[in-house]
Symmetry: C2
Amino acid sequence: MGSPENAMSKATVSRMPSYLRYLKGEAGKGVEYVSSSAIATALGVSAVGVRKDLALVSSQPGKPRFGFEVRRLIEDIEKFLGYHRWTNAVIIGAGGLGRAILAYEGFENYGIHVIAAFDASPSKVGAAGGKPIYPMERLSDIVVRNSVKVAILTVPRSAAQAACDEIVRVGITAILNFAPVYLHVPDGVKVKYEDLAVSLAGLCGE
Amino acid sequence: MGSPENAMSKATVSRMPSYLRYLKGEAGKGVEYVSSSAIATALGVSAVGVRKDLALVSSQPGKPRFGFEVRRLIEDIEKFLGYHRWTNAVIIGAGGLGRAILAYEGFENYGIHVIAAFDASPSKVGAAGGKPIYPMERLSDIVVRNSVKVAILTVPRSAAQAACDEIVRVGITAILNFAPVYLHVPDGVKVKYEDLAVSLAGLCGE
DNA sequence: TAGATTGTTAATCGATTAACAATC
DNA sequence: TAGATTGTTAATCGATTAACAATC
């Protein structure tokens, strides 16, 4: 392909959130500068790797004897990750998990507005965490009007493929899927599987 | 190090859950054989890569003209991933997310018993999804008695580090952390960050 | 200054892809 | 048989690590 602007390895991108998390922790403790080796030790990776990664995103080089300025680095990584473009998202399935995510505070810090949840069952319609839960009939209307491209799928396993077809039909192009099922989607639609059991099993296995 | 038994790349291991998910879907539709290229197309990876991966776990080679036997392959991957060793886990924090995970059906298929949740607030004590919610005072007792090594952390951000210290103290060695905070843990304790906002942001960014 | 820490170039390592013979 | 599909060896590609000069 050849992206002339700023080629960056997938591996590097995938480490950025962990740097960000660590740096925010340090910033919260009032730390102003942090060295690549401190980051490396805390995260269990190599210091050279950290320097290489940071060189690609930081707007200012690290200072010998000091390290990197924590606050600036946080801004740089957030900017790089695109956290300042705002995105609207919806939740499909207002069971326990769906409602918990609807009420989750963490998204707003990352440029994501979760605007509503939807459920096929009339008894679930209402609100949770100050946000509305609509019947599925209203999905198309609201997705189109708010140009929503992202959906979080929290329906039971048996309903997942049907719900997926439905949200793809109304224009969703990215799905965060909590149902432990493989989803068939057309080209151009991205699915990320957030399989809690797999995460947990992976953690145990190592 | 040199693990003489069966060296397997991390990348390969990380792809196994997606193969498993896909194969279970096919098995559910009654498909008996599946080719590496069919798997590759569905998952958006290369067919040679699939064959190489499967060669490392399958107890029987694929058949030319047919492909791989779906049912056998599912068993082989599950066995490889260690899904048949049972593990006990607990949930720390019985808010919306914690209770939703406590009630989640998916774990039992993967060899994980989530035996209980714990919460610092007396008002949360009780049960959800047919499983008990205990006060934090009972943590040590129950963790030790059931030799629990894995905890799922679903407390608010501000309580995460304190809760983490507590569970490490009672003997937990693996943590699935839903709080969007970097956790300081001693060597030998593994943390996996399940940051919903980061997952979602990553999905949007690509 | 001396020394800690950075950034970069070269070398190693690992994983993916390409090519092709083997097989049912 | 013919042809689809497998498994493997060699070549490419990318990422990590090692070595070291530059800098505050």
